[in-house]
């Protein structure tokens, strides 16, 4: 079995590493000379919309997938004519467009979300702000990630600046949620419609970037989150791993956004689940049986942003698992993560504290 992956970053790299033992060959398409997946598997070098390379990839593989939402729509459509693409171009188009995504979640599937409205003009922004109330968050409909393409409007006086910064592209205004916590549910759906969900993951973001994830087996919100993601998966006829990020406010879960791919908060499944999200994504898109999503011990993950710490200090902590992505250091860049596993939550927190101590020195 051969899988083509659009994008050669750390998600593609971890997919490739999961593929090798399964006997699944991966080939990544990425324009960068130092794409970090290229160090662990074969790379085609080319732009994501390079028709020749896309055709070469499609000719060479059995299935095509992608590691990010912003694959050019035409590129994916031309691929879909040549090869099986999972998740479907329809799922990707939904995931990359906040308005389409929120409309599906809220209107079509009845999943609670914050109030939202499309904003295509300064007038629409003003009327949406009046309808939804402030504070609210103005977001680009597409191409936003890690907190980029967002502006928090705290009062009417912010409208000028927000419109000035983002007004050149289609936007969505979303009600600001005073959440108690952020969680994500990661699930996988097979070609024949079987769904498996991982335990809920609790996340902490700083400056819009995920910093910390805790696996929460037995969480009281598990059933609700599984219900929501099940509706979403079935409505999209989805194949592969998906993530749904949610806010919890007053014991209610509000869907925030979906990612039609393996997800940063699911990296802890490499050590912290019987089958990792990467292996389950490959199993699903290749038509293999899904693997168990049951937790293995208790686990948490710390993202490494900017540069890597001394691995010797980290690896001295029992149960600490180091994941370098093979990327050059750069401010704000995700260059690796550490997953910590333990037999109980007390021990897990003690180990996490020890790992954090190594990062601050």
């Amino acid at each position: 079995m051969k899988v083509g992956i659009i994008g050669g970053g750390q998600l593609a790299r971890m997919l490739a590493l999961a593929g090798h033992p399964l006997g699944i060959e991966t080939i990544v398409l990425d324009p960068a000379f130092d794409a970090c997946a290229g160090a662990v598997t074969r790379q085609l070098r080319g732009a994501y919309d390079d028709r020749n390379q896309l055709k070469a990839l499609a000719d060479d593989v059995d299935v095509i997938t992608y590691e990010f939402e912003n694959v050019p729509e035409q590129a994916l459509q031309s691929l879909a004519d040549l090869a099986s693409v999972y998740p479907s171009p329809n799922a990707l188009a939904t995931g990359r467009d906040r308005l389409r995504e929120k409309t599906l979640l809220s209107m079509t599937l009845g999943i609670p979300t914050a109030p939202f409205a499309a904003v295509d003009s300064r007038e629409e922004l003003e009327s949406a702000a009046a309808d939804i109330g402030l504070p609210a968050v103005l977001k680009t409909r597409t191409l936003g990630y890690d907190g980029k393409g967002q502006y928090v409007l705290r009062g009417i006086e912010d409208i000028d600046a927000a419109w000035g910064q983002l007004g050149s592209v289609p936007l969505v205004l979303e009600g600001f949620v005073e959440f108690e916590r952020e969680v994500s549910i990661i699930a996988v759906r097979s070609r024949n419609g079987e769904i498996r969900c991982y335990p809920l993951i609790e996340n902490v973001h700083t400056d819009g970037i995920l910093r910390l994830s805790h696996c929460r087996p037995g969480d009281p919100q598990q059933a609700t989150a599984e219900d929501y993601i099940g509706r979403l998966l079935d409505s999209l006829g989805y194949v592969g791993v998906i993530a749904l990020e949610l806010f919890q406010a007053d014991d209610r879960l509000l869907a925030n956004e979906m990612a039609p791919r393996v997800h940063n908060s699911g990296h802890l499944t490499i050590e912290g689940a019987e089958t990792s999200q990467f292996e389950n994504h490959l199993r699903a898109i290749c038509g293999l049986p899904l693997g168990q999503t049951t937790p293995v011990g208790y686990s948490a993950m710390l993202n490494l942003i900017g540069d890597l710490p001394d691995p010797a200090a980290v690896l001295a902590v029992p149960g600490a698992h180091f994941h370098a992505y093979g990327k050059a250091a750069r401010e704000g860049r995700k260059v690796g993560h550490i997953t910590v596993r333990a037999e109980n939550t007390t021990e897990l927190e003690r180990r996490m504290e020890n790992v954090r101590d190594t990062l601050s020195t």
Copy 2:
């Protein structure tokens, strides 16, 4: 950190896969065009005694290791002049020569073994057979593996045939052990002398090839095995992962042979231990802290010999982890393994039975 590996087979492949997340680059040296490690990391193509390639390797890396005992001695010696080689050439020379190995274990370290004697002539074979008694096993001193280079002498009448088959090279005659079971202990020693041992592993060989391994946490023989391998590691000033194969007969452990490298019976540590033998070998030779060797659930491994089964059937069994080596099918060749993990031994055996059912169809 960059590690050069002599040999590009499945052991090198699994070392390379363990290296990527640690940020440890690996480069393998192998003459084969389809060396299976070459699909997951960089390969230098060349014979194991190709001086130019050995020098290129030594110049490029921080540490050199190997995946098999039969690295040409001169090659390793020339490397040791250019780079750090772990485990040391002395450990390798001991591991590749049954007489030197048995002498160290039995005479120097006082570890029980079967009786043995050097055999360099037909006369010595006759007198050794008389001293040790028959049945006994005649073995080549070097280059034996997977039961190759061995002849079981059941009575005096077998001496002619045994000598005829093996008599052209230096030999050892070893007393035949009527063992109750075969076990192996896998341990790792760091550059500063710290030692960690994995739980004892119980092994089943057929036709000289390992077929089945069970991890046995809490085994009554654990302390004895740890004592023996600790003596061996310290006496060799060893750095890296080592395996010691032992027979158990009448509640006694008899050392059979050592392997100065990661070992087939330790493959189950990928899922069945907090830190795999591959990661711990890299940590040790790179001077990083050792990882925990504690078991994760209960695990067992089945070798895949000759050709691979249908992965879909295997992966349908909960807790089954598939490991294809990317090698072409060939009779008697190790082409992959399956590790099964479960929360208890009853469930483990049930799952192992289900996996075996998929192999026989």
